[in-house]
Symmetry: C2
Subunit: 365 residues, 2 copies
Amino acid sequence: MTPPTPPRTLWLDDRSRVMTLDQTRLPFEQIVIELDSQAACGHAIRTMQVRGAPLIGAVGAYGLAFALRSDSSDLGLQKAFEALLASRPTAVNLRWALTRVADRVRVLAPHERAQAAWDEAGVICEEDVTCNRAIGVELAALLSGIAQRREGADGRALDVLTHCNAGRLATIAYGTALAPFYLLERISAPVHVWVDETRPRNQGASLTAWELGQSGVAHTVIADNAGGLLMMQGRVDAVIVGCDRVAANGDVANKVGTYLKALAARAHGVPFYVACPTSTIDLQARDGEAIEIEARDGRELSHVAGRLADGSRAEVQLVPDGSATFNPAFDVTPAALVTALVTERGAIPASGAAIARLLNTRGQG
Amino acid sequence: MTPPTPPRTLWLDDRSRVMTLDQTRLPFEQIVIELDSQAACGHAIRTMQVRGAPLIGAVGAYGLAFALRSDSSDLGLQKAFEALLASRPTAVNLRWALTRVADRVRVLAPHERAQAAWDEAGVICEEDVTCNRAIGVELAALLSGIAQRREGADGRALDVLTHCNAGRLATIAYGTALAPFYLLERISAPVHVWVDETRPRNQGASLTAWELGQSGVAHTVIADNAGGLLMMQGRVDAVIVGCDRVAANGDVANKVGTYLKALAARAHGVPFYVACPTSTIDLQARDGEAIEIEARDGRELSHVAGRLADGSRAEVQLVPDGSATFNPAFDVTPAALVTALVTERGAIPASGAAIARLLNTRGQG
């Protein structure tokens, strides 16, 4: 069975099973996996068949609903919660989604819990879709504005550069940075996407290229190194990236390499947009310096997996034995380089004042 | 047999054969190949067992000398010249070296030609070594100056970032950007090198890491994306890169991605040095815009070769079928971002006036 249109990364079949793609097999194999138990959901999260904060949260929520079908007692709820959380203990969004479902059903009689959990998981998914679509509508309007301001409306495609995968594969549908490309009818010019490979984990070359290709969005994969040249040559009309965390002052933590593109965009007057669900704004982080940068396993850099000529999957080593590696996962783009934070409630300047106003909290002064 | 110290990429054995490394086998296999004929030299160039402009030129020059041993007639000279040039027709330095040897021997009696060509090839090699060593001495002095100006001479290593491989493997010895690291005794602090992976051809991860490791130079391989973060964190004291061509105004064409590092260096006040033999300055190119940027085969980006777990070599595909790729080989760093061009005749500002003065030509006004 194929996913619905617009393409969703998670959907339900008619027997109330959860369907999703095994992302460890992308981009070369499109394998739909059927999740019908807590164990299956936990396994999918643990083995990274599903990735991306919103998607992990949704699969966790459904896992809790499955668990309650066989044991809806308080103890059953608690055990399932803990088991699912342990499948990816550092995923903030997983804890958030599990807590939301557990809080929703704990007050109910046991026989009502399984259905209520199932419904709540569905609400979590629909909220994600609605949020992402709103961000996409906003970005589409911004891109249309750029197209209209260009001299000579000659029908040339609007060239948009993106880094990493803030796409539908990380969410239930649309994604965030890629959301406008699933709403192409709202953009007043043809669109072409420059896809940064995104070393070392290659999320651009594998996941972003795959999902844009599946939906027929014109795109070209480039080395992360090429973006500066393209901007110098006037071949980038806008940069759109996602974010892992946005500090209270508007500094943006995102996949490593984002900052270099922001510097180049500034040097060439290219708008730099950050697709930013309000849920990623962390008012506890005063600025970018307060955000800890995770260093990941150097093996992600020294080895790379892909498809051999015979179609099988293999991993090859690139870096000689004995050479050290350092693999920071994120970098911080200062707020001053960000043209706008594009949230589901509208686009705002990347500043403490604008963020405080949006979130209706008191500013820092 | 092992290469001499300081390590040379090309050396002669006692039977007047040319010895060099098969660079297609690096970094995982160190295979010395023996070249003893025009055909062997042409094959090594054509199959990219040797790479780097100076090294290709030297191997071509020796190839011509071998050819003249068996046929030193005018016709033999001409045929060998053309055959060797055809082994890498776009290599400017190959044509330069072949022309230099041919011009040197054409005026001689045939029986004198083979020895004269052999000697001229040797002179070409020694000139390369002398030039590169002089650049290394200059860079070592600049690095020592940085070390001395740092607050608190606490013995912390000087962190130098480099991109691509402007190392000994591209030359006869020393390299250009990496030359100071073979003269560590001239630098007044310990040194550690951040090695950019350098996608898509991975010359940093494979060649630079290998040659620094062979010589015991402390180094760490990073994704090209990581340099901006490292500079923001104050963990880069200088950037040193090579160059493919420098325009009359000081704009620098070098491996794609260089420009992004130059922007980040400027943003953080990090000195950005370009190791620049005067032979790479092209007064015919008025500025960077006059330098054509070669687009290479997209397969360099979509596929990557490395070592499988069993030790064999394999190539894996990274980009899905149907996704386009674009693979520009170089970018242009504007002169304004370059702290100094470091030539064998000293370090100069990257400006038309300084270049004209150095080359003793008339400035452009």
